[in-house]
C-alpha cells in the first residue's frame, strides 16, 4: 500500500510520527458518570417543567371558537342539496347563529376547516404544475402531464390552473354579522388579503406577463378548472394584485395540508372601526355561508374557527402538556437513577474488578 516516498537511507520506510497516523490525536473521552448524568436529568426536568408551565399559561391566554357547520343551522338543507351532483350549479346559502360569551381580544383569525379531506395523497399532491403557476407561458398552454386528468378540458383546451389540487379548491364563502345586545346588526369586517406566506405570494405564484394585455387576454386559450364556477382571472376583479394565480384563497389552498384534518386561514378581523377595535366583542353572531363545497361524498366535515393568537400560535394544548408530562417522567427517571447510583454505583464496587 504505502506510497513510494522520496526518502532514502536506513529508515526510509519508517512511518511518519504524526498524531493522526499514530492514532494519538488529542481527544476528549466523556463518560456517563453520576456527576454528569444525574444533574443533567434534574436540570432537564426543571427546564421542561418551566417550559410546560410557561407554554400552558400562553396557550390559556388564547381563545378559540370552533363551529362545525356541515349540518348546523339552516345548512342541513344545503347539505342535502349538495348530495345530488345535478344540483352542483345551484346556489345555496345558509345561516348559522352562535354566541360569543367572552370577547375575543386582540387580532382575531377566521379559519375554515375540513375534516377527512386528504390533501396529502401522493397522486393528488403531484397533480399540479408549479411552472404554470409561476407564470411560465409555455406551461400555461402546455401544462405538465402530472396534472392529469385535469390537464385539459373535454374540448382539449389547457386548464389553468391545472391539476387536482386547484380543481378541488374550497369554494364556500362566509360573511359574519355581529348582533350586539343593543343596536343594529353590524357586519364583521374581515381582511381577506395578506394572509399568505410572503414567498408564496411574491415568488412561487405569479401571473403570466401580460405586456399591456388584460389578465383575461393573457389567459385566453385556457379553460377554467372543471369544478370552478368562474375562470382564474375573475377570482377578484376589484384587485389585480389578488387576481389570477396570485389570489390569496387559491394560494392558501394550493399549500397542501400534511394531514386529512386541517384548517386554512380565511380572513383576519379588520380592527379599524368600532366595536371591533379591541377584537370581537361578546354577543351573538350569525354566519352566512355560501354553501358550495360538497363534503358528503367523502364523509367529511366543515367548520369555521375563530381564534386569537400569541407568539406561540393558536390554541394547541399538546406541547405544554407534553412538556409537563415529560418533565414528570424525567424527574421519575432521575430519582430512579439516583437511587440505583446510591445503592450500587456510588462506591464504585461493580466498576472495579
Amino acid at each position: 500500500m504505502g506510497k513510494v516516498k522520496g526518502k532514502s537511507g536506513p529508515l526510509a520506510r519508517r512511518p511518519d510520527n504524526s498524531a493522526f497516523k499514530q492514532q494519538r490525536l488529542p481527544a476528549w473521552s466523556p463518560m456517563l458518570t453520576a456527576t454528569t448524568v444525574l444533574p443533567f436529568f434534574y436540570l432537564m426536568a426543571l427546564i421542561c417543567m418551566l417550559l410546560g408551565v410557561w407554554l400552558l399559561l400562553t396557550v390559556q391566554s388564547t381563545q378559540e371558537i370552533k363551529l362545525d357547520y356541515t349540518e348546523a343551522g339552516t345548512c342541513d338543507m344545503c347539505f342535502e342539496k349538495r348530495k345530488n351532483v345535478s344540483n352542483a350549479a345551484q346556489i345555496c346559502t345558509c345561516t348559522v347563529v352562535f354566541p360569543i360569551k367572552k370577547a375575543l381580544k386582540g387580532d382575531v383569525f377566521f379559519y375554515y376547516g375540513l375534516q377527512n379531506f386528504h390533501q396529502n395523497l401522493r397522486r393528488y399532491m403531484d397533480s399540479r404544475d408549479d411552472a404554470q403557476m409561476v407564470g411560465r407561458k409555455t406551461n400555461l398552454k402546455n401544462p405538465s402531464s402530472y396534472c392529469e386528468p385535469f390537464m385539459k378540458d373535454p374540448n382539449g383546451l389547457p386548464i389553468a390552473p391545472c391539476g387536482a389540487v386547484a380543481n378541488s379548491i374550497f369554494n364556500d364563502t362566509f360573511t359574519l354579522t355581529y348582533h350586539g345586545s343593543s343596536g343594529p346588526s353590524i357586519p364583521v369586517p374581515l381582511l381577506r388579503k395578506g394572509i399568505t406566506w410572503y414567498t408564496d405570494k411574491n415568488v412561487k405564484y405569479r401571473n403570466p406577463k401580460n405586456d399591456n394585455m388584460t389578465l383575461a387576454q393573457v389567459f385566453e386559450g385556457t379553460a377554467r378548472p372543471l369544478y370552478w364556477q368562474k375562470p382564474v382571472y375573475e377570482l377578484d376583479l376589484l384587485d389585480p394584485t389578488n387576481n389570477g394565480f396570485i389570489n390569496d384563497d387559491l394560494i392558501i389552498w394550493m399549500r397542501e395540508a400534511a394531514f386529512p384534518n386541517f384548517k386554512k386561514l380565511y380572513g383576519v378581523l379588520y380592527r379599524a372601526k368600532q366595536p371591533f377595535t379591541k377584537g370581537l366583542p361578546a354577543g351573538n353572531y350569525t354566519i352566512n355561508i355560501s354553501y358550495n363545497f360538497p363534503v358528503q361524498y367523502f364523509r367529511g366535515r366543515k367548520e369555521v374557527v375563530l381564534t386569537t393568537l400569541t407568539w406561540f400560535g393558536g390554541q394547541n394544548h399538546f406541547l405544554p402538556i407534553a412538556y409537563l408530562v415529560t418533565s414528570c417522567l424525567i424527574l421519575l427517571i432521575a430519582i430512579i437513577l439516583t437511587v440505583v447510583w446510591w445503592k450500587f454505583g456510588k462506591n464504585g464496587k461493580r466498576l472495579e474488578e
Binding site: P26, R255, G313, F344, L351
Partner: protein
C-alpha cells in the same frame, strides 16, 4: 507464518475465479495433453500456437472498460438491486420518488468504484508493459540477440546473467557453476522436448529430452521458474518450456479467494432479514392501501379520479412497489461503500503504525488485505510456525557431543554450571579463515581438535563435507556461505572455525582446508535431505582413495541405522541429546561409514539407472539410499540454538490473557518443543498433559489422535487470516499473507489494538448505521396511516437523496475510523478487553433486534410528537404551519438532530475531526436546505425545488424549535438513562477499564502528590507521548 482463526463454523472458503483466469483460458484452442517442441526451431514450434512470453494481467482497454466494468459492477447484488429500484421508479404509476433519489447515490457509487478499478488497471497495464519490455539475450540464427521478453517463444534458448529475472519457465541447459553434460550446439541442432502441459503445480515437473536418439529425463530440479532471480551464477543458458500465461507463476496467480469476516457473514444474514422485513412492511402497507381505497378512496374520486381501469386491488398492488421504493433506505447502497472505506482506513492505520515498524531491517507492518481488519478483533486460535516466526531463525552452534563426551558447557570446581557469557570466548585467531562473528566458550573442544583427536576431527570433517552450502570467496580468505537453511550454515561455520574450512565445490569435488592443509575430496553421491528421510548423506573419496559415507540427520533416524557396536556410545549420546533438548536446542546426530570400492561401483551403477528411470524413480532411489545408509558408526551430535525473538514470552502471555489459544507447529523433538513452550510462557505445569497429546500428533504416530491432525490441516487450508513475519522467513510467506510485519511481538499490537479497535469500530458503525436508516424509514411507515397509504413520503425528496450521502455520511465515518474506547496502552494493560470480540458481544443478531426496537421507538417519537404539535397549529401571524412542506421540514430536522445527538452518545473518542464532521454536517444541512428552498433555486429549477420559502417560514417559529427540543429529549434521554443504569448495575469490561482510566487521569490532574502508584508508569508514558506530539 501465523494463521488466525475465529470460530470453526466459519471455515468456508469461497473460491472465485476472476476474469483474469478466464481470459487465460482464451489462449487455448485445443486441450493440450502433451507439449512437444524443438530447441531453437521457431517455425516448428510456432505451428503449435503455444503462448508466447507476453503477459496480460490487465482486464480492460479503453473501449471495453465502460461496458465490462459496468457489467461486473452490476453483478454485485446491491448494485443490481438499486438498478431494479431505478427501473421501478421509471413507471409513473409506481414512482413514489423522483428518479434522482436512487440514481444519484448509485451513480456516485458506480463511479467511485469505476475510478478505483480504472486506476488499478492502469497500474496493471504499466507493470505489464514494463515486464513485457524487459530485454533478454536470445539465441537467434546462431548468435545472441537482445530481445524483448514478449517476443520470446517456446523453444528459444536464452542466456541469463547474474541477478537477472528469469524470463520464462526454463529448462536449465548450462551455467557458469556447472559443467555441461551436453553441448549447447547439439541441443540447438536437434534437441526435442516432450513434457506435461501447462499447470499450476510448483513442485512437480515431468518431461523428456531427446537428443541424438538418446532420451534424458527431466524433472523439477532442472527447471527455472519465471518470477525467480538468478543468484550467485555468472551466467546460464535455458530452454524456454512455458511462456507468459503458461508459466507456473501466471498459472498460480489470478485465482483469488474471497475471505470474509464473521461480520460479513452476519451482515449478509441481516441484509436478507431486512429484505424479508421490507417485503412484509410493504405487504402491510399494500393491504392498508387496499382497504383505504375501498372505504375512502372510492368516495374521494370526485376530487381525485382513478386512472381508467384502476381499482382498489390494482392500487394496492402498485402501492406495494411504491413502498418498496420509499422504504429501500432500510438497505442503503452507502452501507457497502462505507464498510469498505472504514476497512481501508483501518488498514492504513496498520501500515502507518510506528510501533509495528522494525527499524533494523526497515520493515513497516503491512495490511496486504484490506477486508479482514475487524476479524483481527475476534481471533480465538493462533497457529504458528516455530522457526522464524517465534524464533529469530539465526542459528548458533551451541554445544556438541563427540564420541560420548559433551562440549560447550562449563562447570566450575563445585560442579555448578557457569553462565557462558561470563567466560572468555575461545580465540580462533590461529585460523586465518575463521569467521570472526562465531563465538564459542568451551576451550577444551578446540584443544581436543588441535591435539588431533581422530573422532573430533572426523566430526568436523563431516560437518565440512556433508551439506548443500555454497561458498563464496570474493577475496582470498573472505569466505561467505550461502546456506539453504540456517542450521546448515551454523554447522559449516562451526567446522570452519574449528579448522575444517569448507572452501569450494564443483559438481564432482569438495575442497576443504583441514587444519591448514588443503584437501580435495571426490564427491561420488549426494543423498538428499527430505522430510521423510530426515537425513542427508554424502559419499566422498579422499585423496588417499578411501571411500566414506557421511550422514547427518534426526537422532531417532540415525540411531535406527547404527552398527550394533555403537550401542554404548549411543547411550551416552542419548543422554547428552536429552540434555540439549531440555534446553530447547535443535539437535542432529552425526555418523559415518567406510565403503569398499567394489560395492560402491556396483551401487553407483544401480544409482545411475534409478536416477534416469522414467517409472518409479523416487521409490527406487529411496530404496538405494536405505540400502547404503545402514550399519553406520556414530560420531556424535550437534546442538544448535535458535534464539527466541525479542518479546515473544511477553506477547504469548498477553495473548493468553486475551483468551487466545495458541498452537505452535514444529518439527522439533518433543522435549525441545516442550522447553521452548515453557520458555515462551506458553506452557505452564498443569498444561503438560494436553501438550503431550499434541506433540504425539505432530509425530503422526498415534492413530487415535490423527483426527486432530486432519482438523489442523483443514483449518490451515480453510478460511483464515495469514500473518507473515517478514525478514528471516522467506518472502513467500509474506506474499501469501494477509498481514505482515517483522517481529512476532507485533502480533499483540495487531490483535489487541488494531484488531480490537477495528472490530469495535465496525460494530459501532453497523449498529448506528442500521439505527439511523431504520428510524428514517419507519417514519414513512407511520405517515402511511395518515396519507391513505398512498406512498407519500414524509421528507422532501432531496433530503431522502442526501440523507445517507451527505448529511449523515461523514459523522458516522468519523466515528468508525477514529473511535477508541481506551487507548492502546490501556488495551495492553487489560488484555481481557479482547474477549468480548471473541464472543461476538458488540454486534450480533440480538443487538440488531434491539437496534430495530430502538429505531421503532425513535421513529414513533419522531413522527407523532411533530404530528401532535403541528396538526392543528398556525404560525404566530395566523398563517399556515401545518402544511405538508412545513411538516416535512420539521420531521427531517428533528430526525437529523436526533441522529447527530445519538452519534455523539456513541462516540467515545472526540477528536477535532469528529467535532468538525458533526457540526459541519449539521451546518451543511441547514445551508443546503436554505439554498434549495431559496427563491433562486425555485425560479431556475421550478419543478425540482417546490419547497421554496419553507425553511424561512417554518424555522422562524418558536413552536417549531420547541417541538424539535421535545422530540430530541424524548429520543435521547431514555438512551442515556439505560446506558447509565447498565454502567451502574452490569458494567462491561470496557466500562470498568474506561472508568478506571478516567479516575486515574482525574486523580493525576487534581491531586498530583497522591497518585495511584500502580497507574503512575502508564500515565507517565502517555504523558510523554503527548509531549512528543
Amino acid at each position: 507464518m501465523l494463521y488466525l482463526y475465529k470460530i470453526k463454523q466459519h471455515f468456508s472458503p469461497i473460491a472465485v475465479a476472476t476474469s483474469s483466469s478466464l481470459s487465460a483460458g482464451f489462449f487455448y484452442f485445443f486441450t493440450e495433453e502433451e507439449r512437444l517442441f524443438r530447441a531453437n526451431d521457431r517455425p516448428f514450434n510456432l505451428s503449435y500456437h503455444y503462448a508466447d512470453n507476453a503477459i496480460k494481467t490487465s482486464k480492460y482497454n479503453l473501449f471495453t472498460f465502460l461496458p465490462l466494468n459496468l457489467f461486473e459492477q452490476f453483478q454485485r447484488l446491491a448494485n443490481a438491486y438499486f438498478l431494479f429500484l431505478m427501473a421501478l421508479q421509471v413507471i409513473p404509476q409506481i414512482s413514489s420518488l423522483s428518479w434522482f433519489t436512487t440514481a444519484v447515490p448509485l451513480i456516485l457509487v458506480l463511479s467511485i468504484t469505476a475510478v478505483k478499478d480504472a486506476s488499478d488497471d492502469i497500474n496493471r497495464h504499466k507493470s505489464d508493459k514494463q515486464v513485457n519490455n524487459r530485454m533478454v539475450k536470445v539465441l537467434i540464427d546462431g548468435e545472441l540477440r537482445n530481445e524483448k521478453w514478449l517476443n520470446v517463444q517456446v523453444g528459444d534458448i536464452i542466456k541469463l546473467e547474474n541477478n537477472q529475472f528469469v524470463t520464462a519457465d526454463l529448462m536449465l541447459l548450462s551455467s557458469s557453476e556447472t559443467v555441461c553434460f551436453i553441448t549447447l550446439t547439439s541441443i540447438a541442432l536437434s534437441g526435442e522436448v516432450r513434457c506435461e502441459p501447462p499447470n499450476n503445480r510448483l513442485d512437480k515437473f515431468k518431461g523428456t529430452l531427446t537428443l541424438d536418439g538418446q532420451t534424458y529425463s527431466l524433472d523439477n530440479d532442472k527447471v527455472l521458474l519465471r518470477g525467480c532471480t538468478l543468484r550467485n551464477t555468472e551466467w546460464c543458458f535455458g530452454l524456454v518450456i512455458f511462456g507468459g500465461p503458461d508459466t507456473k507463476l501466471m498459472q498460480n496467480s489470478g485465482k483469488t479467494t474471497f475471505k470474509r469476516t464473521s461480520i460479513d457473514h452476519l451482515m449478509n444474514v441481516l441484509v436478507l432479514c431486512i429484505f424479508g422485513f421490507l417485503a412484509s412492511m410493504c405487504t402491510v402497507l399494500a393491504i392498508g392501501n387496499g382497504i383505504w381505497e375501498v372505504r375512502e378512496g372510492s368516495v374521494f374520486t370526485a376530487f381525485l379520479p382513478r386512472e381508467p381501469g384502476a381499482n382498489a386491488a390494482l392500487s394496492s398492488f402498485l402501492s406495494f412497489w411504491s413502498y418498496i421504493i420509499i422504504l429501500n433506505t432500510l438497505v442503503p447502497i452507502s452501507l457497502y461503500v462505507s464498510v469498505e472505506i472504514i476497512r481501508l482506513g483501518n488498514s492504513f492505520f496498520i501500515d502507518w503504525d510506528r510501533k509495528m515498524y522494525y527499524p533494523k531491517n526497515d520493515t513497516p507492518a503491512q495490511a496486504r488485505t484490506t477486508t479482514l481488519n475487524e476479524e483481527l478483533g475476534q481471533i480465538k486460535y493462533i497457529f504458528s510456525d516455530k522457526t522464524g516466526t517465534l524464533t529469530q531463525n539465526i542459528m548458533t552452534f551451541n554445544r556438541c557431543s563427540i564420541n560420548g563426551k559433551a562440549y560447550g558447557e562449563l562447570f566450575d570446581f563445585s560442579g555448578q554450571r557457569v553462565e557462558i557469557t561470563e567466560t572468555a570466548r575461545v580465540d580462533f585467531s590461529w585460523n586465518q579463515l575463521a569467521d570472526p562473528k562465531f563465538t564459542f566458550h568451551d576451550h577444551s573442544l578446540l584443544e581436543t581438535v588441535r591435539e588431533g583427536n581422530p573422532e573430533a576431527q572426523a566430526f568436523f570433517r563431516l560437518l565440512a563435507l556433508c551439506h548443500t552450502v555454497m561458498p563464496e570467496e570474493k577475496k582470498e580468505g573472505e569466505l561467505y556461505y550461502q546456506a539453504q537453511s540456517p542450521d546448515e550454515g551454523a554447522l559449516v561455520t562451526a567446522a570452519r572455525n574449528f579448522g575444517f574450512v569448507f572452501r569450494s565445490r564443483t559438481p564432482e569435488t569438495i575442497t576443504a582446508m583441514e587444519m591448514g592443509r588443503t584437501v580435495t575430496y571426490e564427491l561420488l553421491a549426494v543423498l538428499d535431505f527430505n522430510n521423510v528421510r530426515k537425513r542427508m548423506s554424502v559419499i566422498v573419496r579422499n585423496p588417499e582413495g578411501k571411500l566414506t559415507l557421511y550422514c547427518k540427520g534426526a537422532d531417532t533416524i540415525i540411531f535406527e541405522r547404527l552398527h550394533p557396536s555403537c550401542n554404548k556410545l549411543k547411550e551416552a549420546t542419548i543422554g547428552h541429546l536429552n540434555e540439549y533438548a531440555g534446553d530447547g536446542l535443535r539437535t542432529l546426530a552425526l555418523a559415518y561409514k567406510d565403503l569398499d570400492e567394489s560395492y560402491m561401483d556396483e551401487w553407483r551403477q544401480r544409482h545411475h539407472e534409478a536416477s534416469t528411470a522414467m517409472e518409479g524413480r523416487e521409490e527406487r532411489l529411496d530404496e538405494l539410499y536405505e540400502e547404503i545408509e545402514k550399519d553406520l558408526l556414530l560420531l556424535g551430535a550437534t546442538a544448535v540454538e535458535d534464539k527466541l525473538q525479542d518479546g515473544v514470552p511477553q506477547t504469548i502471555e498477553q495473548l493468553a490473557k486475551a483468551d487466545i489459544k495458541i498452537w505452535v507447529l514444529t518439527g522439533d523433538k518433543q522435549e525441545t518443543a516442550e522447553n521452548i513452550g515453557y520458555s515462551c510462557n506458553m506452557l505452564r505445569e498443569e498444561m503438560k498433559e494436553i501438550f503431550v497429546v499434541a506433540a504425539n500428533t505432530a509425530d503422526g504416530k498415534q492413530i487415535t489422535t490423527t483426527h486432530i491432525i486432519s482438523s489442523i490441516i483443514y483449518m490451515i487450508k480453510a478460511a483464515h487470516i495469514g500473518v507473515g513475519i517478514s525478514g528471516q522467513e522467506g518472502m513467500q510467506a509474506v506474499l501469501s499473507s494477509d498481514y505482515s510485519f517483522a517481529q512476532f511481538r507485533y502480533l499483540q499490537r495487531l490483535l489487541l489494538v488494531h484488531g480490537r479497535w477495528s472490530y469495535l469500530r465496525m460494530c459501532k458503525f453497523l449498529q448506528y448505521f442500521f439505527y439511523k436508516n431504520f428510524t428514517f424509514t419507519f417514519v414513512h411507515f407511520w405517515y402511511a396511516f395518515f396519507c391513505g397509504f398512498s406512498a407519500q413520503t414524509v421528507y422532501d425528496e432531496w433530503f431522502i437523496t442526501l440523507y445517507n450521502m451527505v448529511y449523515t455520511a461523514l459523522p458516522v465515518l468519523g466515528m468508525s475510523i477514529f473511535d477508541q474506547d481506551v487507548n492502546d496502552r490501556w488495551s495492553f494493560q487489560y488484555p481481557q478487553l479482547y474477549t468480548p470480540g471473541q464472543l461476538n458481544l458488540y454486534f450480533s443478531k440480538k443487538a440488531f433486534v434491539l437496534c430495530m426496537m430502538h429505531s421503532c421507538y425513535s421513529s414513533l417519537i419522531l413522527f407523532f410528537i411533530p404530528w401532535a404539535a403541528m396538526h392543528d397549529t398556525v404560525r404566530d401571524d395566523g398563517k399556515d404551519l401545518a402544511d405538508y412542506q412545513s411538516f416535512a421540514l420539521l420531521a427531517q430536522t428533528c430526525l437529523l438532530i436526533v441522529m447527530n445527538i445519538q452519534l455523539c452518545l456513541d462516540t467515545y473518542y472526540w477528536t477535532a475531526v469528529n467535532q468538525f464532521f458533526v457540526w459541519g454536517s449539521l451546518a451543511a444541512y441547514f445551508a443546503i436546505t436554505f439554498t434549495m428552498y431559496s427563491n433562486g433555486m425555485f425560479l431556475i429549477f421550478t419543478s425540482s425545488f417546490p419547497f421554496i420559502g419553507t425553511a424561512r417560514n417554518s424555522l422562524s417559529q418558536p413552536s417549531v424549535w420547541l417541538t424539535i427540543f421535545l422530540t430530541s429529549l424524548l429520543c435521547i434521554l431514555p438512551v442515556v438513562a439505560s446506558r447509565f443504569l447498565f454502567v451502574q448495575l452490569r458494567p462491561t469490561i470496557n466500562d470498568k477499564v474506561r472508568c478506571h482510566m478516567t479516575q486515574t487521569i482525574a486523580s493525576l490532574l487534581y491531586t498530583p502528590y497522591s497518585y495511584n502508584f500502580k497507574c503512575w508508569p502508564l500515565l507517565v508514558s502517555s504523558f510523554k507521548e503527548v509531549t512528543i506530539t
